[in-house]
């Protein structure tokens, strides 16, 4: 369970989050949508403590994230970064198995490699890529390696920042199914950021729309189409004219 109350964040004079309230129940798949630059990535970085909110509280399972033991806290999370953020000094499989090669989850090397290759297969990558370096992969392949790394240690809570951007429609379908599977089969709690409305429908239990630094609308995915909210409607149908300005 993740709960955000009145979270504010500014960078210099630029106010990005202006009081975000969000509730994600355990074992649910929440999808966050919203215009480019509205602070979606900043929002999940706040939950992970990578960005310090200026104001407001964030709770995970009823515990304030600022008071949690940092190592134990982070051990429960997996995160796919928008830019994949692969370590370019390590090979693909060493990236995927990063957690399994050191620290509390350390396993023998051959076993870690096996897990990595299995996770790569789940994101639609062949074992041949395992020994390549990230720089040798295409953007979409890097993204999928990032996804494999995020799920490698089977975390309870997973954040996906635009998992399907840059992928072809078939691969997007594979990744959508994978995220759905992780939530339903492994019982993980997921927050996914996406611009892709077909992904939203495939992945989400609940949807929250970020606009103007706040959650403009939140509710079950089934109610998204008849919300009656002009902002959400404009976003869902991708119309250029409406209450959301096209120049931001």
């Amino acid at each position: 369970m993740i709960e955000l109350r009145d979270v504010h964040k500014a960078f210099g004079s630029k106010q990005v989050l202006r009081g975000v309230d969000l509730f994600v129940p355990k074992g649910e798949s929440m999808v966050v949508i919203g215009g480019s630059g509205t602070g979606k990535s900043v929002l999940i970085k706040c939950i992970l403590g990578l960005v310090q909110p200026d104001r407001g509280t964030i709770l995970v399972d009823g515990q304030y994230v600022t008071q949690a033991d940092r190592d134990a806290f982070l051990a429960r999370f997996g995160m796919l970064f928008q830019g994949a953020a692969l370590f370019d000094s390590l090979t693909v499989w060493q990236n995927v198995a990063f957690r399994l090669l050191r620290g509390s989850l350390k396993r023998p090397k051959p076993e870690a490699r096996e897990v990595a290759i299995e996770k790569l297969r789940r994101v639609g990558l062949t074992p041949e890529v395992a020994d390549l370096y990230p720089a040798e992969l295409s953007g979409g392949m890097q993204k999928r390696v990032g996804l494999a790394r995020a799920i490698a240690a089977e975390p309870e809570i997973i954040f996906f920042d635009e998992p399907t951007t840059g992928l072809d429609p078939i691969m997007s379908g594979v990744i959508n199914d994978l995220i759905r599977e992780i939530v339903t089969e492994m019982g993980a709690t997921a927050i996914t950021i996406t611009h892709d409305m077909s992904s939203v429908r495939a992945i989400a239990d609940d949807v929250a729309m970020l606009h103007g630094g706040k959650v403009r609308w939140a509710g079950p995915v089934g109610q998204m189409d008849e919300s009656g909210d002009p902002y959400l409607d404009q976003f869902v149908h991708g119309r250029a004219d409406g209450p959301i300005e096209a120049v931001r």
Binding site: K45, L48, L50, L74, A75, A85, F87, R102, G103, R149
Partner: protein, 257 residues
């Protein structure tokens, strides 16, 4: 008035930088003594900082030692003191030029590459990714590099001292007509243990400063390619100035008493 304000602002920025770098240094030292330790990263750092710096250190030292011998010979000739070439080359290399030049070469070669690498990692969110993978960036990135430099740069300085003296020896015996046996004997008789220790101690301090500045500016890099460029430039400037300042202080400490 605006000039004074600008000057004041620059001074305040400098002071706060020094303060933050000092805190960073103490944090790094405290991480050095607390597990987990990343042995593989440390080994890698030893290789890149130490082994791969050998050619540049060797070349720097041999040419400096050679030039020093020529200078002392022609300068010494003015008061018929040409004979002191072996002694002055030895003391000049070991006490001053060896550590300082190796330190500056390390700043050019190692500080810059550490800063650029870590800054790029920061800009591409790899540092954030490390954190989410339960790995402390200071322990995984900073400590191995700083520790490696602390241990390896004194060795490089020692090697630089020896090669520098050899450079002087080659010039002295091949060109200036010194007897090889006497040259070596004069060098060995003249050098004291304190000279060598001070040389190695300077190496340790300079190595620490060089790696630390690379890590500090890399970790605090601004955004984008420009941020990486600025971090790299500032790290080399800071390392070079700190090395020269530390050299002055250490020389005063070791030899002025």
């Amino acid at each position: 008035m605006t000039f004074l304000a600008a000057l004041g602002r620059a001074l305040l920025t400098l002071l706060s930088q020094i303060g933050r770098a000092t805190i960073f240094a103490f944090e790094t030292l405290s991480h050095m003594v607390r597990p987990p330790f990343y042995v593989k990263e440390f080994g890698h750092a030893v290789l890149t900082i130490g082994y791969f710096s050998l050619p540049v250190v060797g070349l720097t030292a041999v040419f400096t030692g050679g030039a020093l011998a020529l200078q002392i010979y022609s300068g010494g000739a003015r008061f018929s003191a040409e004979a002191v070439v072996p002694q002055i080359v030895a003391i000049g290399m070991v006490r001053e030029l060896g550590p300082v030049l190796v330190g500056l070469m390390i700043a050019a070669r190692v500080t810059s590459s550490i800063a650029a690498e870590i800054a790029t990692m920061k800009v591409t969110e790899q540092i954030d990714a490390l954190v989410t993978l339960s790995t402390h960036p200071a322990k995984y990135l900073t400590v191995p590099r700083v520790l490696a430099a602390l241990i390896v740069v004194p060795a490089l300085v020692g090697i630089g001292d020896i090669i520098g003296i050899l450079g002087g020896f080659v010039v002295g015996t091949e060109q200036l007509g010194f007897n090889p046996g006497t040259y070596l004997k004069n060098t060995a008789d003249f050098l004291e243990a304190a000279d060598i220790w001070s040389s190695l101690a300077k190496g340790a301090v300079f190595g620490f400063l060089a790696a630390l500045m690379g890590c500090y500016f890399g970790m605090n890099s601004g955004r984008g390619a420009q941020g990486v460029g600025r971090a790299t430039k500032s790290s080399v400037e800071a390392a070079a100035v700190l090395i020269l300042a530390a050299n002055f202080l250490l020389t005063a400490l070791f030899f002025s008493a």
